[in-house]
Symmetry: C2
């Protein structure tokens, strides 16, 4: 780090401490020289890596699980709880597709970007919308230009492209943005998969170009506005990750990786997994691809997965994860525990005064019984979702905390064996 970098950093830190104060303008060239993120691997055990991802909103120890904040809220939990010591999420996800459709980008811009809009000062990552268009939109037409689809909210005809996604993500202002990709189903023919992969590569290039333009535009807009607060988190270059596609075909995956790296991104993600293919196949692809991904950049496996998936992917060299499982399944009455999953609807818990997980010390397990949470669930009380969501997120984040600790102390192989054994053991 140069002295000038250090000065910029100090300035950035200061600005974070006083979000509401106007900042004095920075020269554009100087800012662009600043790396948007930094990543260091601090320990390895076979392919597993423990690292530190530094953003301007704090350090994130990896491997990390990022709770999904679809529409600007991690469903069913207050931001204070995400920051509480038992959970302590350092980075959360925002969905470009959802936020773009509602409340819309003009509202979020008027409220000073996504962080200010939702009231979250820690790091964020936004996806590109590619996956949501594929999984949520009702009708769609994929052309070279982009994707045409109907909004899942009101059926309105919408169009998303690399350029639009980058513009939206620049306005949202998360520390990490994602390239706009096409996400094909897991089990498609090689020719179709190749066409899709080639399209994703062309979109990756356009994403990168549009991203640079959007960054410059944001910086200029920032410089021309009076209110520092309004544009604070748009003033610095965001990081952009590329996405590796190629369905279930290893040769395509390898080619996608190589050509995505050629374009050059701040980090790399594996997309299009956990979309219906067999689980062993998913792990085979990760096993082959992850170790080939640039070692000095974070490796992000999108939309995965179960606690076991996370640990298996870490063993193969992955650093970052996101998934709706802990929150969505929590709302559906499922708790993740050290002894596997627990369905709170089960009659056997009617008078069970034990916590969800006897090995857990989260604020829910310290206070509430299975019997009470079951009652809440059956009575349709919101608190059931709130408590299950909180516990499940703690379970996911705490599992990765233990993973990091194990890698750093050279005990990951042992941890992986013991965790898997216990998790598959089932409740007493």
């Amino acid at each position: 780090m140069t002295a000038e970098d250090a000065e910029v950093d100090a300035e950035e830190n200061k600005s974070l401490r006083s979000l509401r104060k106007p900042l004095r303008p920075l020269r554009f060239s100087r800012v662009m020289e600043t790396k948007p993120i930094d990543f260091k691997v601090v320990a390895t055990e076979d392919h597993a890596r423990a690292g530190i991802l530094t953003t301007r909103r704090g350090e994130i120890e990896t491997p990390v699980f990022m709770p999904v904040g679809t529409a600007g809220t991690v469903k069913g939990i207050r931001f204070e709880s995400l920051e509480a010591p038992d959970l302590n999420a350092r980075i959360i996800l925002g969905n470009t597709y959802h936020l773009w459709l509602r409340p819309g980008i003009e509202v979020i811009k008027a409220c000073g970007g996504l962080h200010n809009f939702i009231g979250w000062e820690r790091a964020m990552l936004t996806d590109s919308g590619g996956f949501q268009v594929w999984s949520l939109a009702e009708i769609r037409k994929v052309t070279e230009a982009g994707t045409e689809f109907r909004s899942h909210i009101d059926g309105a005809l919408c169009f998303l492209s690399p350029e639009i996604s980058m513009e939206v993500q620049a306005a949202l202002g998360a520390e990490i943005a994602m390239a706009f990709d096409e996400c094909p189903p897991g089990q498609i023919e090689p020719e179709v998969a190749r066409q899709s992969m080639e399209l994703t590569l062309r979109w990756a290039r356009r994403s990168k170009d549009a991203f640079e333009v959007a960054q410059v535009a944001n910086l200029r807009a920032g410089g021309s506005q009076d209110s520092g607060a309004q544009i604070n988190n748009l003033r610095y270059r965001q990081a952009l990750f590329g996405i590796i596609q190629g369905a279930s075909h290893l040769d395509l995956r390898r080619e996608s990786l190589e050509r995505t790296v050629e374009i050059g991104f701040d980090g790399y993600a594996v997309g299009g997994l956990s979309v219906g293919e067999e689980k062993p196949l998913m792990l085979d692809i990760i096993e082959d691809i992850a170790p080939r991904m640039p070692a000095d950049k974070p490796r992000y496996l999108m939309g995965v997965g179960t606690p076991e998936d996370l640990i298996e992917a870490v063993a193969r060299g992955v650093d970052m994860f996101d998934c709706v499982l802990p929150t969505r399944n929590g709302r559906n009455g499922q708790a993740f525990t050290s002894r596997g999953t627990l369905n709170i609807k089960n009659a056997r818990f009617a008078t069970d005064t034990r916590p969800l997980d006897e090995a857990c010390s989260c604020s829910v397990c310290r206070r509430h019984s299975r019997a009470f949470i079951r009652h809440l669930y059956l009575a349709g009380e919101m608190l059931a979702s709130i408590l299950l969501t909180h516990h499940n997120l703690v379970f996911f984040l705490d599992t990765l905390r233990r993973v990091r600790q194990a890698i750093r102390s050279g005990q990951f192989a042992k941890f992986r064996r013991e965790f898997t054994e216990q998790f598959s053991f089932g409740l007493e």
Copy 2:
């Protein structure tokens, strides 16, 4: 307080500190000598009173607003938030009707009573079920014996009587229980109102008798069980409040009061108001009745009301309140503020970065904007209800905190004038 009383108190305090430890048996006669609650008026201004209500689970400053925890949860809020410094609820309500139907009293007994079941160590009050039968049940037949009705959950035929209500409330184990009453509509003819009032009086007598029996039975059951944890909060006599009825007829109200006091209770409630009658009529009745209620016992106005109602009732001598307004209206998008109510759905808030109430320092107002909460509400996100509920409860409890402070410093008349003026002023 005698030396023996002090010893009993010390023992009680000790037992509260170690809820899970078995207690050594107490002699029944000794426990019955202990007062279930204590109430002292510490300041007055005209009819308004500031007091301290002492229960075995802590002191409660009055006038007090009790959040409604219908089915064992104050809807949309974690218990940690109820205890947080900005809210600090000292007593909450539980609904006998709801808890009796679901999860049922056997479940709650098996989990050690209502406090243990839900994980709340502060004070509670349970209603008798009389009002819910009237307001929720689909079919009902009122006889001398009790009320026959169909459950609003599954249509099952149920029967509630003074004896059953007392047995259930004893099992729930709240610090304060309520007599079982008939709640007639506000606008009924004097003859029908008299019949209903006479029935409520006979039920009040039966409630008191059954309550004493249930207390003794609970104490005996407690003594015969091995686990101290299971019966901890059933070991001491609960308080029982009588309920004054008489619809909108002052003469009936006065007679009901006089004859309820003759039976003798630990506190007195005014029931059957805020059930469709005109608001001035409600205040007229309170103005006439409240000052006639025993001065050395807490006066509780059931199911009331708006912030203005609370202040007007305090001015007439009421000490305790409960109402679903802050929670229910919060879930429906309404915020209470120092400048009146605010409908978060309103388009004018789309990019309004101000907090719900600019004069509020609750955890919601310190962090989130109207624009964000509006977005959450329109997106159907649970967090909208969670945030509005929290803010509204803070507004109600904080208003009563200011009321208490005003009475203690002889500034209540001024406070009442200023609050009302500002509250009716409307948002800018």
